[in-house]
């Protein structure tokens, strides 16, 4: 095998492909192969073992889990280098010419989507059918939210950083605990989503969300920042908690909804698979992953601690060491 083989998250795929292409253009090594298929499948492939017929790098839109590390180790993949490449901002956008969805906060989202909300100090079944009922500052249109399906890592971020926060801030969490729920149950209840069709899960990709918003003027969808930036002709984005999403606000941590993106390298393959180390170094070099590099240009929020990551790769520092 001549080329580096990579698999994993489809969120990381665009960045990986940009790097792979540039890597192929700028070095003697052949262009790496970047498969998509999701973080789960990528890591699973990654953890089948070491050897030529296994992949070298797994892309993931979340950090690897303890259980996965254990499974990896069991299959002989013991030394894994974790590389954080930057952040993915998650934005809320609606049809460009649609209703004026300009600013949201977590409480509004929670109240719009949760099956149980706090109304007049009591927990009731969600009575809202229009955004204006949730908050008078919002447009007077039917709630039609297109949120990532449960397969997406983005859903987790959405639940944690929007719904859970909204739950707590609206006081619903407290009310639930007060009503006798255990803390765990209450937290689970906080991130539940109503099932009466106001909120639609999207198992496909952002293009599907876009298509759905195209055919539903009142729709509001959850997108990645990069996706939004490429489709500003159709979408307009809303502020969240008073902050407009941009690479700067996300990098600075002002914008609340974002997540880190990673890739994982099999240390055992370094030195055996030609170009593997070079690819990793190339990826995190300032020219590529820095704030002025093509990745940021495309929409990746570059990691402020890029230098540390570069050092880590240089030293081949593995997880747990």
């Amino acid at each position: 095998r001549d080329q580096v083989q990579i698999a994993g998250s489809s969120t990381v795929l665009p960045y990986a492909s940009i790097v792979a292409e540039a890597f192929g253009e700028n070095t003697e090594f052949p262009t790496p192969v970047v498969e998509s298929g999701g973080s789960s499948a990528g890591l699973k492939k990654f953890c089948t073992g070491v050897g030529e017929n296994t992949i070298d790098i797994a892309n993931a839109s979340r950090a690897i889990r303890e259980k996965e590390i254990a499974a990896c180790a069991e299959a002989g993949v013991k030394d894994i280098i974790e590389v954080r490449i930057g952040y993915d901002g998650i934005v809320f956008a609606s049809q460009k010419d649609g209703p004026a969805f300009d600013a949201f906060n977590q409480v509004q989202w929670f109240n719009a989507l949760s099956p149980k909300v706090l109304k007049d100090g009591e927990l009731v079944d969600n009575p809202y059918t229009k955004w204006s009922e949730v908050d008078s500052s919002l447009p007077d249109v039917e709630i039609a939210a297109f949120i990532p399906g449960t397969k997406h890592g983005t859903r987790e971020v959405f639940e944690e950083k929007v719904l859970a926060v909204g739950c707590e801030e609206s006081g619903a969490l407290k009310a639930m605990i007060d009503s006798g729920m255990s803390e765990d149950d209450a937290e689970d209840a906080c991130i539940a989503v109503r099932t009466d069709g106001k909120s639609v899960d999207i198992d496909g990709d952002y293009t599907e969300t876009l298509a759905r918003i195209d055919s539903n003027p009142n729709g509001i969808g959850v997108f990645g920042l990069a996706f939004y930036e490429n489709n500003t002709d159709k979408l307009k984005v809303a502020n969240m908690a008073g902050v407009a999403p941009s690479t700067e606000t996300i990098a600075s941590g002002e914008y609340p909804v974002s997540r880190p993106l990673f890739f994982y390298i099999k240390k055992a393959h370094i030195g055996v698979i030609p170009g593997l180390q070079e690819y990793a170094q190339f990826f995190v070099s300032d020219e590529i992953a820095g704030p002025d590099g093509p990745l940021a240009q495309y929409g990746l929020v570059s990691d402020p601690e890029l230098a540390a990551t570069q050092a880590k790769i240089e030293a081949a520092e593995t997880i747990g060491n």
Partner: protein, 450 residues
Amino acid sequence: MTDTTLAQQSDTSHASPERTVFSILEGDALTRKRNAAEARFKLYGIIAIGIGLFFLVALLWAILSNGLGAFTQTFVKVEVPLNQQQIEEAEKSVVKTSKYRAILIEAFENDLSAANISTGISAKDLEKLFSSGAAATIRDHVLAHPDSIGSTVGFDLIASSRVDGYMKGRVDRDDLAQDKNLDAAHLDLADQLQAAGILEKRFNWEFVFGTDASDSRPEQAGIGASMVGSLFMMLVVLVLSLPIGVAASIYLEEFAPQNRFTDLIEVNISNLAAVPSIVFGILGLAVFIQFMHLPQSAPLVGGLVLTLMTLPTIIISTRASLKAVPPSIRDAALGIGASKMQSIFHHVLPLAMPGILTGTIIGLAQALGETAPLLLIGMVGFIASNFPDGVAAGFLSPNSAMPAQIYEWAKRADPAFYERAWGGIIVLLVFLMAMNIIAIILRRRFERRW
């Protein structure tokens, strides 16, 4: 007997009540009803075909109207002086192409002033007119022709996707209000460039024969490499699934003893047809890659997986057509001392051929358009970045396939990829029809009622 007896008999016949001599020109109520039913039945058939063709036209129209744009592309002519020193410097940096880009912009600014076009656009923003792959085009030329260093070379460089979209009417000035990739000023420049003949739109062979490009340069993406991937996969599928499918059907239909076990096999095969294609991907990953150590992302593996997936379709249709061959044909052959094998291969199989070919057409169409199993064996993603350099490499080196490529494009953020996805579908359908044409012609030759 004589005519007289005949005449007598005709009398008695008139007496008999059931003997109503009816006219064949005018129907009675029942016949009218039956004829109406007949007409309705025929009409249903026409309607059914009409519905099918209507949807075909609707789908094809959608495909063509969305996808034809992918076949044209905007190019910008630039005269680039290849300066030895600049190039040496560029070759030293990590990301060499970014340095070439600077060379390009410098040259382009010169061209602009030569053409008397003045813009207020900064050098950095001027870059956005070009595909980010433009610099690589220059570098590739330099690497391929080192002797051209020192001279000035004219390049036809691909314009960026938004400029291209503007030329095709996909992008207008309003759309760019929020866009960070391009401004309205760029579009003004593009208009001027077009007037000056520096920028032009023409047929995009690169799309048909090129390779995939990363998310940031839709304008450079082509379906060629994945077409080659599909071609090699289909070769595997055709070469394996047709003979194996027909052989299996012959065994099951003609030789296998009729017992519980063969019933089990029969049910098994129709059940395989219902197995979701992604499960075949799971199987392929486990068996071909993890167990047999075949390479990842290879068309060979893809072909094998698709073969397994296509087999049930071919087997089911072949068995159905074998069943439909009248037994008297088999008897006739056996009766003059043909072996069972001979009677089947010489007589039954030719008669079953139309059905077999139909199964093949449908099975291959399905295999050609399938993405899900490819996802698991690593043929979906950013893969087809190079053409295989030989037949063996065609089977073994990583490649994508057309449906996977289309699926990938359809997911990508830049709307220019959406157009490419539809364009890819057009290519896929043309490929499909080219593939089927032989089978269709063959099938017509074998079709005959006896």
